[in-house]
Protein backbone atom coordinates (compact mmCIF):
# COMPACT_ATOMS: atom_id res chain seq x y z
CA UNK A 1 0.00 0.00 0.00
CA UNK A 2 2.77 2.42 0.90
CA UNK A 3 4.46 1.62 -2.37
CA UNK A 4 1.21 2.26 -4.21
CA UNK A 5 0.87 5.67 -2.55
CA UNK A 6 4.42 6.50 -3.55
CA UNK A 7 3.74 5.56 -7.17
CA UNK A 8 0.54 7.56 -7.07
CA UNK A 9 2.36 10.63 -5.72
CA UNK A 10 5.10 10.31 -8.33
CA UNK A 11 2.46 9.93 -11.02
CA UNK A 12 0.55 13.01 -9.91
CA UNK A 13 3.77 15.06 -9.88
CA UNK A 14 4.70 13.97 -13.40
CA UNK A 15 1.07 14.37 -14.45
CA UNK A 16 1.08 18.02 -13.43
CA UNK A 17 4.01 18.62 -15.75
CA UNK A 18 2.25 16.76 -18.55
CA UNK A 19 -0.84 18.87 -17.94
CA UNK A 20 1.06 22.15 -18.14
CA UNK A 21 2.87 21.09 -21.27
CA UNK A 22 -0.31 19.82 -22.94
CA UNK A 23 -2.23 22.96 -22.00
CA UNK A 24 -0.19 25.03 -24.42
CA UNK A 25 -0.94 22.54 -27.18
CA UNK A 26 -4.66 22.27 -26.49
CA UNK A 27 -4.99 26.05 -26.21
CA UNK A 28 -3.41 26.63 -29.60
CA UNK A 29 -5.49 23.84 -31.11
CA UNK A 30 -8.73 24.69 -29.36
CA UNK A 31 -8.60 28.44 -29.91
CA UNK A 32 -6.80 28.56 -33.23
CA UNK A 33 -7.37 25.21 -34.95
CA UNK A 34 -3.62 24.93 -35.46
CA UNK A 35 -2.14 21.51 -34.71
CA UNK A 36 1.27 22.59 -33.49
CA UNK A 37 3.80 19.85 -34.15
CA UNK A 38 6.58 22.17 -32.97
CA UNK A 39 5.09 22.16 -29.48
CA UNK A 40 7.76 19.84 -28.07
CA UNK A 41 10.45 22.09 -29.52
CA UNK A 42 8.93 25.08 -27.71
CA UNK A 43 9.21 23.04 -24.52
CA UNK A 44 12.80 22.17 -25.41
CA UNK A 45 13.62 25.82 -26.10
CA UNK A 46 12.26 26.69 -22.66
CA UNK A 47 14.65 24.20 -21.10
CA UNK A 48 17.69 25.15 -23.17
CA UNK A 49 17.09 28.89 -22.76
CA UNK A 50 16.51 28.34 -19.04
CA UNK A 51 19.83 26.56 -18.79
CA UNK A 52 21.56 29.32 -20.78
CA UNK A 53 20.21 32.25 -18.74
CA UNK A 54 20.85 30.59 -15.38
CA UNK A 55 24.26 29.02 -16.00
CA UNK A 56 25.72 31.46 -18.56
CA UNK A 57 24.07 34.75 -17.65
CA UNK A 58 24.04 33.93 -13.95
CA UNK A 59 20.37 34.69 -13.33
CA UNK A 60 18.58 33.02 -10.45
CA UNK A 61 15.82 30.54 -11.30
CA UNK A 62 12.87 32.93 -10.96
CA UNK A 63 14.39 35.79 -12.94
CA UNK A 64 15.47 33.18 -15.46
CA UNK A 65 11.92 31.82 -15.72
CA UNK A 66 10.54 35.31 -16.28
CA UNK A 67 13.16 36.08 -18.93
CA UNK A 68 12.50 32.75 -20.68
CA UNK A 69 8.74 33.35 -20.58
CA UNK A 70 9.23 36.81 -22.09
CA UNK A 71 11.54 35.55 -24.83
CA UNK A 72 9.22 32.66 -25.69
CA UNK A 73 6.16 34.93 -25.69
CA UNK A 74 7.89 37.17 -28.23
CA UNK A 75 9.00 34.11 -30.17
CA UNK A 76 5.49 32.62 -30.23
CA UNK A 77 4.05 35.98 -31.26
CA UNK A 78 6.50 36.23 -34.16
CA UNK A 79 5.95 32.64 -35.27
CA UNK A 80 2.25 33.39 -35.51
CA UNK A 81 2.56 36.75 -37.26
CA UNK A 82 5.28 35.66 -39.68
CA UNK A 83 4.47 31.99 -40.34
CA UNK A 84 1.06 30.81 -39.12
CA UNK A 85 -0.64 33.95 -40.46
CA UNK A 86 0.19 32.81 -44.00
CA UNK A 87 -1.73 29.55 -43.73
CA UNK A 88 -4.63 30.79 -41.60
CA UNK A 89 -8.05 29.80 -42.90
CA UNK A 90 -6.68 27.19 -45.31
CA UNK A 91 -7.62 24.12 -43.29
CA UNK A 92 -5.44 22.15 -40.91
CA UNK A 93 -2.99 20.46 -43.29
CA UNK A 94 -0.87 23.49 -44.26
CA UNK A 95 -0.50 24.33 -40.56
CA UNK A 96 0.58 20.77 -39.79
CA UNK A 97 3.23 20.79 -42.53
CA UNK A 98 4.40 24.22 -41.47
CA UNK A 99 4.83 23.29 -37.80
CA UNK A 100 6.54 19.98 -38.66
CA UNK A 101 9.03 21.97 -40.70
CA UNK A 102 9.43 24.45 -37.86
CA UNK A 103 10.06 21.63 -35.37
CA UNK A 104 12.84 20.19 -37.54
CA UNK A 105 14.38 23.63 -37.95
CA UNK A 106 14.26 24.40 -34.23
CA UNK A 107 15.59 21.02 -33.11
CA UNK A 108 18.55 21.15 -35.47
CA UNK A 109 19.35 24.80 -34.79
CA UNK A 110 19.37 24.02 -31.07
CA UNK A 111 21.55 20.99 -31.73
CA UNK A 112 24.03 23.21 -33.54
CA UNK A 113 24.11 25.83 -30.77
CA UNK A 114 23.69 23.85 -27.55
CA UNK A 115 25.09 20.44 -28.49
CA UNK A 116 23.78 16.99 -27.69
CA UNK A 117 24.75 16.75 -24.03
CA UNK A 118 22.00 17.02 -21.41
CA UNK A 119 22.08 20.24 -19.42
CA UNK A 120 21.06 20.58 -15.80
CA UNK A 121 19.27 23.72 -14.70
CA UNK A 122 20.07 24.85 -11.18
CA UNK A 123 16.79 24.82 -9.26
CA UNK A 124 15.90 27.30 -6.51
CA UNK A 125 15.49 24.53 -3.93
CA UNK A 126 17.63 21.53 -3.05
CA UNK A 127 16.61 18.03 -3.94
CA UNK A 128 16.23 17.34 -0.23
CA UNK A 129 13.64 14.69 0.57
CA UNK A 130 10.32 15.63 2.14
CA UNK A 131 8.39 12.95 4.00
CA UNK A 132 4.61 13.08 3.77
CA UNK A 133 3.54 10.03 5.76
CA UNK A 134 4.79 7.05 3.80
CA UNK A 135 5.41 9.12 0.66
CA UNK A 136 8.77 10.70 -0.16
CA UNK A 137 9.06 13.68 -2.50
CA UNK A 138 11.73 16.30 -2.96
CA UNK A 139 11.36 19.98 -2.13
CA UNK A 140 12.15 20.86 -5.73
CA UNK A 141 9.39 18.60 -7.03
CA UNK A 142 6.78 20.01 -4.68
CA UNK A 143 7.90 23.48 -5.64
CA UNK A 144 7.68 22.68 -9.37
CA UNK A 145 4.19 21.26 -8.95
CA UNK A 146 3.15 24.45 -7.15
CA UNK A 147 4.53 26.60 -9.99
CA UNK A 148 2.77 24.40 -12.56
CA UNK A 149 -0.52 24.71 -10.68
CA UNK A 150 -0.10 28.48 -10.43
CA UNK A 151 0.58 28.76 -14.17
CA UNK A 152 -2.43 26.58 -15.00
CA UNK A 153 -4.65 28.65 -12.72
CA UNK A 154 -3.24 31.86 -14.18
CA UNK A 155 -3.98 30.71 -17.73
CA UNK A 156 -7.48 29.66 -16.70
CA UNK A 157 -8.24 33.04 -15.12
CA UNK A 158 -6.77 34.84 -18.13
CA UNK A 159 -9.11 33.00 -20.49
CA UNK A 160 -12.24 33.06 -18.33
CA UNK A 161 -12.07 36.44 -16.63
CA UNK A 162 -10.08 38.96 -18.62
CA UNK A 163 -11.00 41.05 -21.62
CA UNK A 164 -8.21 39.42 -23.65
CA UNK A 165 -9.54 35.98 -22.65
CA UNK A 166 -13.05 36.89 -23.76
CA UNK A 167 -11.66 38.21 -27.03
CA UNK A 168 -9.81 34.89 -27.48
CA UNK A 169 -12.94 32.82 -26.96
CA UNK A 170 -14.99 35.11 -29.20
CA UNK A 171 -12.41 34.90 -31.97
CA UNK A 172 -12.37 31.11 -31.69
CA UNK A 173 -16.15 30.77 -31.76
CA UNK A 174 -16.84 33.28 -34.52
CA UNK A 175 -13.97 35.30 -35.97
CA UNK A 176 -16.23 37.43 -38.15
CA UNK A 177 -18.40 38.50 -35.22
CA UNK A 178 -15.21 39.25 -33.29
CA UNK A 179 -13.98 41.57 -36.04
CA UNK A 180 -17.33 43.33 -36.12
CA UNK A 181 -17.09 43.94 -32.37
CA UNK A 182 -13.81 45.75 -32.97
CA UNK A 183 -11.46 42.95 -31.93
CA UNK A 184 -8.18 42.85 -33.86
CA UNK A 185 -8.29 39.13 -34.48
CA UNK A 186 -4.73 38.91 -35.81
CA UNK A 187 -3.51 40.15 -32.43
CA UNK A 188 -5.70 37.68 -30.60
CA UNK A 189 -4.26 34.79 -32.60
CA UNK A 190 -0.72 35.98 -31.92
CA UNK A 191 -1.45 36.39 -28.20
CA UNK A 192 -2.87 32.89 -28.02
CA UNK A 193 0.20 31.48 -29.71
CA UNK A 194 2.41 33.47 -27.34
CA UNK A 195 0.49 32.13 -24.33
CA UNK A 196 0.80 28.55 -25.58
CA UNK A 197 4.54 29.07 -26.07
CA UNK A 198 4.94 30.44 -22.54
CA UNK A 199 3.17 27.42 -21.05
CA UNK A 200 5.26 24.93 -23.04
CA UNK A 201 8.54 26.71 -22.30
CA UNK A 202 7.77 27.06 -18.57
CA UNK A 203 7.10 23.33 -18.37
CA UNK A 204 10.42 22.73 -20.16
CA UNK A 205 12.39 24.90 -17.76
CA UNK A 206 10.75 23.44 -14.61
CA UNK A 207 11.42 19.91 -15.79
CA UNK A 208 14.97 20.84 -16.73
CA UNK A 209 15.52 21.74 -13.08
CA UNK A 210 14.26 18.36 -11.90
CA UNK A 211 15.74 16.10 -14.54
CA UNK A 212 17.80 17.71 -17.27
CA UNK A 213 17.13 19.40 -20.54
CA UNK A 214 18.18 18.08 -23.92
CA UNK A 215 17.76 19.51 -27.41
CA UNK A 216 16.43 16.21 -28.75
CA UNK A 217 13.60 15.96 -26.21
CA UNK A 218 11.02 17.70 -28.41
CA UNK A 219 9.67 14.63 -30.20
CA UNK A 220 8.75 12.67 -27.07
CA UNK A 221 7.30 15.78 -25.41
CA UNK A 222 5.06 16.48 -28.41
CA UNK A 223 4.00 12.85 -28.39
CA UNK A 224 2.99 12.90 -24.73
CA UNK A 225 1.25 16.23 -25.11
CA UNK A 226 -0.77 14.77 -27.97
CA UNK A 227 -1.66 11.74 -25.83
CA UNK A 228 -2.94 14.06 -23.11
CA UNK A 229 -4.87 16.24 -25.53
CA UNK A 230 -6.50 13.28 -27.30
CA UNK A 231 -7.41 11.74 -23.94
CA UNK A 232 -8.79 14.97 -22.51
CA UNK A 233 -10.49 16.17 -25.69
CA UNK A 234 -9.02 18.53 -28.27
CA UNK A 235 -9.27 22.09 -27.08
CA UNK A 236 -10.53 21.27 -23.59
CA UNK A 237 -8.82 23.05 -20.72
CA UNK A 238 -10.07 20.72 -17.98
CA UNK A 239 -9.38 17.77 -20.24
CA UNK A 240 -5.70 18.67 -20.50
CA UNK A 241 -5.39 18.72 -16.71
CA UNK A 242 -7.24 15.45 -16.11
CA UNK A 243 -5.55 13.84 -19.12
CA UNK A 244 -2.13 14.89 -17.85
CA UNK A 245 -2.76 13.46 -14.39
CA UNK A 246 -4.18 10.20 -15.82
CA UNK A 247 -1.15 9.73 -18.06
CA UNK A 248 1.26 10.54 -15.23
CA UNK A 249 -0.37 8.11 -12.80
CA UNK A 250 -0.79 5.37 -15.43
CA UNK A 251 2.90 5.62 -16.34
CA UNK A 252 4.00 5.61 -12.71
CA UNK A 253 1.91 2.52 -11.92
CA UNK A 254 3.05 0.73 -15.07
CA UNK A 255 6.66 1.61 -14.28
CA UNK A 256 6.23 0.47 -10.69
CA UNK A 257 4.39 -2.79 -11.17
CA UNK A 258 5.07 -3.89 -14.74
CA UNK A 259 8.23 -2.65 -16.33
CA UNK A 260 10.19 0.59 -16.18
CA UNK A 261 11.72 0.03 -19.59
CA UNK A 262 8.47 0.26 -21.48
CA UNK A 263 6.76 3.16 -19.75
CA UNK A 264 6.28 5.10 -22.97
CA UNK A 265 4.00 2.34 -24.26
CA UNK A 266 1.35 3.46 -21.74
CA UNK A 267 0.66 6.62 -23.70
CA UNK A 268 0.04 4.67 -26.88
CA UNK A 269 -2.29 2.25 -25.13
CA UNK A 270 -4.24 5.21 -23.73
CA UNK A 271 -4.51 6.85 -27.15
CA UNK A 272 -5.74 3.63 -28.78
CA UNK A 273 -8.31 3.00 -26.05
CA UNK A 274 -9.47 6.62 -26.15
CA UNK A 275 -9.90 6.59 -29.90
CA UNK A 276 -11.89 3.33 -29.74
CA UNK A 277 -14.18 4.18 -26.83
CA UNK A 278 -14.27 7.99 -26.54
CA UNK A 279 -13.01 9.28 -29.88
CA UNK A 280 -13.62 12.91 -28.92
CA UNK A 281 -11.91 12.56 -25.55
CA UNK A 282 -13.17 12.72 -22.00
CA UNK A 283 -14.03 16.42 -22.06
CA UNK A 284 -14.62 17.19 -25.67
CA UNK A 285 -15.01 20.85 -26.55
CA UNK A 286 -17.07 19.82 -29.59
CA UNK A 287 -20.33 20.51 -27.87
CA UNK A 288 -19.28 24.16 -27.72
CA UNK A 289 -19.02 24.38 -31.47
CA UNK A 290 -22.68 24.56 -32.28
Amino acid sequence: MDLFLQFLANGLVTGTFYALSALGLTLIFGLMRVVNFAHGEFYMLGGVLGWFVTSHLGLDFFSGLIVVAAIMAAFGWLVDRVLIERVRGQGEEPGILLTIGLSIFLANSALLLAGTAPHKIEGPLPNAPVFLGPVVLTEMRIFAVAVCAALILGAHLLIKKTKLGRAMRATFQDPMAAQLAGIKTARVYASTFALGSILAASAGMLLGAIYSTQVTIGGIVSLKAFVVVILGGMGSFGGAIVGGLVLGVAEALWGGYVSTGMVDIVGFIIVILTLIFKPYGLFSARAERV
Binding site: A178, L180, V290
Partner: protein
Protein backbone atom coordinates in the same frame (compact mmCIF):
# COMPACT_ATOMS: atom_id res chain seq x y z
CA UNK B 1 -33.51 63.04 -48.16
CA UNK B 2 -31.22 65.65 -46.79
CA UNK B 3 -28.53 65.99 -49.43
CA UNK B 4 -26.68 68.66 -47.52
CA UNK B 5 -25.75 66.31 -44.73
CA UNK B 6 -25.21 62.72 -45.92
CA UNK B 7 -23.96 60.58 -43.06
CA UNK B 8 -22.79 57.86 -45.41
CA UNK B 9 -21.95 58.54 -49.00
CA UNK B 10 -21.07 55.71 -51.36
CA UNK B 11 -19.94 56.23 -54.94
CA UNK B 12 -19.25 53.68 -57.67
CA UNK B 13 -18.51 50.88 -55.22
CA UNK B 14 -17.09 47.72 -56.79
CA UNK B 15 -16.48 44.56 -54.77
CA UNK B 16 -15.28 41.18 -55.98
CA UNK B 17 -14.94 37.75 -54.39
CA UNK B 18 -11.70 36.63 -55.98
CA UNK B 19 -12.28 37.17 -59.69
CA UNK B 20 -16.06 37.07 -59.45
CA UNK B 21 -17.39 40.63 -59.28
CA UNK B 22 -20.30 40.99 -56.87
CA UNK B 23 -20.94 44.74 -56.97
CA UNK B 24 -20.67 46.68 -60.22
CA UNK B 25 -20.69 50.27 -59.03
CA UNK B 26 -23.15 51.05 -56.25
CA UNK B 27 -24.13 54.64 -55.43
CA UNK B 28 -26.07 55.36 -52.29
CA UNK B 29 -26.50 57.99 -49.62
CA UNK B 30 -27.87 57.81 -46.13
CA UNK B 31 -28.86 60.89 -44.17
CA UNK B 32 -28.84 61.31 -40.43
CA UNK B 33 -31.85 59.74 -38.72
CA UNK B 34 -33.17 57.75 -41.66
CA UNK B 35 -34.14 54.11 -41.94
CA UNK B 36 -33.09 52.98 -45.38
CA UNK B 37 -33.89 49.55 -46.76
CA UNK B 38 -31.82 47.65 -49.27
CA UNK B 39 -34.05 45.14 -51.01
CA UNK B 40 -33.56 42.66 -53.78
CA UNK B 41 -33.44 38.98 -54.62
CA UNK B 42 -31.07 36.45 -53.13
CA UNK B 43 -27.50 37.02 -54.29
CA UNK B 44 -28.17 40.52 -55.62
CA UNK B 45 -25.38 42.02 -53.52
CA UNK B 46 -27.24 43.42 -50.53
CA UNK B 47 -25.14 41.67 -47.89
CA UNK B 48 -22.00 42.33 -49.90
CA UNK B 49 -22.75 46.05 -49.74
CA UNK B 50 -23.05 45.91 -45.95
CA UNK B 51 -19.90 43.83 -45.64
CA UNK B 52 -17.97 46.35 -47.72
CA UNK B 53 -19.19 49.23 -45.56
CA UNK B 54 -18.30 47.49 -42.28
CA UNK B 55 -14.82 46.53 -43.50
CA UNK B 56 -15.29 42.76 -43.76
CA UNK B 57 -14.64 43.04 -47.50
CA UNK B 58 -12.22 45.33 -49.27
CA UNK B 59 -13.75 47.15 -52.24
CA UNK B 60 -11.84 46.86 -55.51
CA UNK B 61 -12.74 50.45 -56.38
CA UNK B 62 -15.10 53.26 -55.49
CA UNK B 63 -15.43 55.22 -52.29
CA UNK B 64 -17.21 55.03 -48.96
CA UNK B 65 -17.37 58.34 -47.12
CA UNK B 66 -18.53 58.54 -43.51
CA UNK B 67 -19.22 62.00 -42.13
CA UNK B 68 -16.92 63.45 -44.74
CA UNK B 69 -14.13 61.00 -43.96
CA UNK B 70 -12.97 58.50 -46.56
CA UNK B 71 -13.17 55.09 -44.88
CA UNK B 72 -12.87 52.95 -48.01
CA UNK B 73 -10.93 49.76 -47.30
CA UNK B 74 -10.63 50.35 -43.55
CA UNK B 75 -10.54 47.19 -41.43
CA UNK B 76 -13.64 46.19 -39.48
CA UNK B 77 -12.29 47.19 -36.07
CA UNK B 78 -11.54 50.72 -37.29
CA UNK B 79 -14.96 51.07 -38.91
CA UNK B 80 -16.83 50.06 -35.75
CA UNK B 81 -14.73 52.55 -33.81
CA UNK B 82 -16.07 55.25 -36.15
CA UNK B 83 -19.65 54.53 -35.07
CA UNK B 84 -20.87 52.03 -37.66
CA UNK B 85 -22.10 48.73 -36.24
CA UNK B 86 -22.91 45.73 -38.41
CA UNK B 87 -25.36 43.13 -37.17
CA UNK B 88 -24.66 40.28 -39.59
CA UNK B 89 -26.93 37.82 -41.33
CA UNK B 90 -27.64 34.66 -39.31
CA UNK B 91 -26.89 36.64 -36.16
CA UNK B 92 -23.41 35.24 -35.45
CA UNK B 93 -23.69 35.45 -31.70
CA UNK B 94 -21.03 33.57 -29.72
CA UNK B 95 -22.92 30.40 -28.80
CA UNK B 96 -20.67 29.09 -26.02
CA UNK B 97 -20.52 32.40 -24.18
CA UNK B 98 -23.15 33.74 -21.86
CA UNK B 99 -25.63 36.39 -22.94
CA UNK B 100 -23.84 38.88 -20.69
CA UNK B 101 -20.42 38.01 -22.11
CA UNK B 102 -21.79 38.52 -25.62
CA UNK B 103 -22.93 41.99 -24.62
CA UNK B 104 -19.67 42.81 -22.85
CA UNK B 105 -17.75 41.94 -25.99
CA UNK B 106 -20.11 44.08 -28.05
CA UNK B 107 -18.63 46.97 -26.07
CA UNK B 108 -15.09 45.72 -26.62
CA UNK B 109 -13.76 49.09 -27.80
CA UNK B 110 -15.14 50.92 -24.77
CA UNK B 111 -12.29 51.27 -22.29
CA UNK B 112 -14.39 52.06 -19.23
CA UNK B 113 -15.76 49.07 -17.37
CA UNK B 114 -18.41 51.25 -15.72
CA UNK B 115 -19.55 52.54 -19.08
CA UNK B 116 -19.83 48.99 -20.45
CA UNK B 117 -21.96 48.00 -17.44
CA UNK B 118 -24.16 51.06 -18.03
CA UNK B 119 -24.68 50.07 -21.65
CA UNK B 120 -25.50 46.49 -20.62
CA UNK B 121 -28.07 47.94 -18.21
CA UNK B 122 -29.63 49.85 -21.11
CA UNK B 123 -29.64 46.72 -23.27
CA UNK B 124 -31.43 44.80 -20.49
CA UNK B 125 -33.90 47.64 -20.16
CA UNK B 126 -34.64 47.44 -23.86
CA UNK B 127 -34.68 43.63 -23.98
CA UNK B 128 -35.95 42.32 -20.62
CA UNK B 129 -35.73 38.73 -21.87
CA UNK B 130 -31.97 39.09 -22.13
CA UNK B 131 -31.76 40.21 -18.51
CA UNK B 132 -33.62 37.05 -17.45
CA UNK B 133 -31.23 34.94 -19.49
CA UNK B 134 -28.00 36.84 -18.92
CA UNK B 135 -26.18 33.85 -17.42
CA UNK B 136 -27.38 31.38 -20.04
CA UNK B 137 -25.17 30.38 -22.95
CA UNK B 138 -26.26 32.34 -25.99
CA UNK B 139 -26.49 29.15 -28.06
CA UNK B 140 -29.41 27.98 -25.90
CA UNK B 141 -31.60 30.99 -26.76
CA UNK B 142 -34.48 30.78 -29.23
CA UNK B 143 -34.03 32.26 -32.69
CA UNK B 144 -35.89 35.42 -31.81
CA UNK B 145 -33.93 35.90 -28.60
CA UNK B 146 -30.69 35.34 -30.50
CA UNK B 147 -31.68 38.06 -32.96
CA UNK B 148 -32.46 40.43 -30.09
CA UNK B 149 -29.07 39.58 -28.58
CA UNK B 150 -27.34 40.22 -31.89
CA UNK B 151 -28.99 43.65 -32.16
CA UNK B 152 -28.28 44.45 -28.51
CA UNK B 153 -24.65 43.44 -29.01
CA UNK B 154 -24.31 45.65 -32.08
CA UNK B 155 -25.77 48.57 -30.09
CA UNK B 156 -23.17 48.04 -27.35
CA UNK B 157 -20.68 50.00 -29.45
CA UNK B 158 -23.15 52.93 -29.37
CA UNK B 159 -23.20 53.28 -33.14
CA UNK B 160 -24.65 56.21 -35.03
CA UNK B 161 -25.35 53.92 -37.99
CA UNK B 162 -26.64 50.38 -37.55
CA UNK B 163 -26.34 47.99 -40.49
CA UNK B 164 -28.92 45.23 -40.04
CA UNK B 165 -28.68 42.18 -42.26
CA UNK B 166 -31.83 40.03 -42.57
CA UNK B 167 -33.03 40.58 -39.01
CA UNK B 168 -36.23 38.57 -39.59
CA UNK B 169 -34.54 35.53 -41.15
CA UNK B 170 -35.92 32.31 -39.72
CA UNK B 171 -38.27 34.06 -37.31
CA UNK B 172 -42.02 33.62 -36.95
CA UNK B 173 -44.08 36.53 -38.36
CA UNK B 174 -44.95 37.60 -34.82
CA UNK B 175 -41.29 37.58 -33.77
CA UNK B 176 -40.33 39.43 -36.96
CA UNK B 177 -42.87 42.14 -36.10
CA UNK B 178 -41.25 42.49 -32.68
CA UNK B 179 -37.83 42.85 -34.26
CA UNK B 180 -39.03 45.61 -36.58
CA UNK B 181 -40.71 47.31 -33.65
CA UNK B 182 -37.30 47.35 -31.97
CA UNK B 183 -35.74 48.80 -35.13
CA UNK B 184 -38.26 51.68 -35.07
CA UNK B 185 -37.56 52.28 -31.41
CA UNK B 186 -33.79 52.31 -31.93
CA UNK B 187 -34.24 54.77 -34.78
CA UNK B 188 -36.44 56.96 -32.59
CA UNK B 189 -33.48 57.17 -30.23
CA UNK B 190 -31.40 58.76 -32.95
CA UNK B 191 -29.64 55.78 -34.53
CA UNK B 192 -29.64 55.80 -38.32
CA UNK B 193 -30.47 52.35 -39.68
CA UNK B 194 -29.75 50.58 -42.94
CA UNK B 195 -31.62 47.32 -43.20
CA UNK B 196 -31.24 44.51 -45.70
CA UNK B 197 -34.28 42.28 -46.12
CA UNK B 198 -35.62 39.66 -48.43
CA UNK B 199 -39.03 40.18 -46.90
CA UNK B 200 -39.92 43.27 -48.91
CA UNK B 201 -43.13 44.14 -47.07
CA UNK B 202 -41.41 44.11 -43.70
CA UNK B 203 -38.53 46.18 -45.00
CA UNK B 204 -40.67 48.76 -46.75
CA UNK B 205 -43.01 49.13 -43.81
CA UNK B 206 -40.18 50.07 -41.45
CA UNK B 207 -38.04 52.13 -43.86
CA UNK B 208 -38.59 55.63 -45.18
CA UNK B 209 -36.62 55.03 -48.36
CA UNK B 210 -35.37 52.00 -50.19
CA UNK B 211 -32.86 50.99 -52.79
CA UNK B 212 -33.55 48.03 -55.03
CA UNK B 213 -30.44 46.00 -55.78
CA UNK B 214 -30.24 43.71 -58.76
CA UNK B 215 -27.14 41.70 -59.73
CA UNK B 216 -24.73 44.08 -58.10
CA UNK B 217 -26.34 47.34 -59.23
CA UNK B 218 -28.89 49.73 -57.78
CA UNK B 219 -31.81 49.70 -60.20
CA UNK B 220 -34.37 51.78 -58.34
CA UNK B 221 -34.41 54.12 -55.40
CA UNK B 222 -37.57 55.70 -54.07
CA UNK B 223 -39.71 56.37 -51.03
CA UNK B 224 -40.67 53.17 -49.32
CA UNK B 225 -44.34 54.02 -49.41
CA UNK B 226 -44.26 54.55 -53.15
CA UNK B 227 -42.35 51.29 -53.78
CA UNK B 228 -44.81 49.43 -51.66
CA UNK B 229 -47.61 50.57 -53.97
CA UNK B 230 -45.74 49.78 -57.15
CA UNK B 231 -46.61 46.22 -58.17
CA UNK B 232 -44.41 46.46 -61.22
CA UNK B 233 -41.30 47.07 -59.18
CA UNK B 234 -42.19 44.35 -56.74
CA UNK B 235 -42.88 41.86 -59.50
CA UNK B 236 -39.94 42.75 -61.69
CA UNK B 237 -37.24 42.86 -59.11
CA UNK B 238 -38.39 40.81 -56.20
CA UNK B 239 -40.64 38.12 -57.57
CA UNK B 240 -43.11 39.06 -54.88
Amino acid sequence: MNHINPLLHIRDLHVAYGKAAALHGIDLDIALGEIVALIGANGAGKSTTLRAISGLLKPTSGSITWEGKNITGWSADLVVAQGIAHCPEERHIWPAMTVKENLMLGGFLCRSHVEVEDRIGMAFHRFPRLRERQKQLAGTLSGGEQQMLAIARALMSEPRLLLLDEPSLGLSPKMADEVFEVVREINAHGVTVMVVEQNVYNALSVASRAYVVETGRITTSDDAARLLKDPEVLNAYLGA
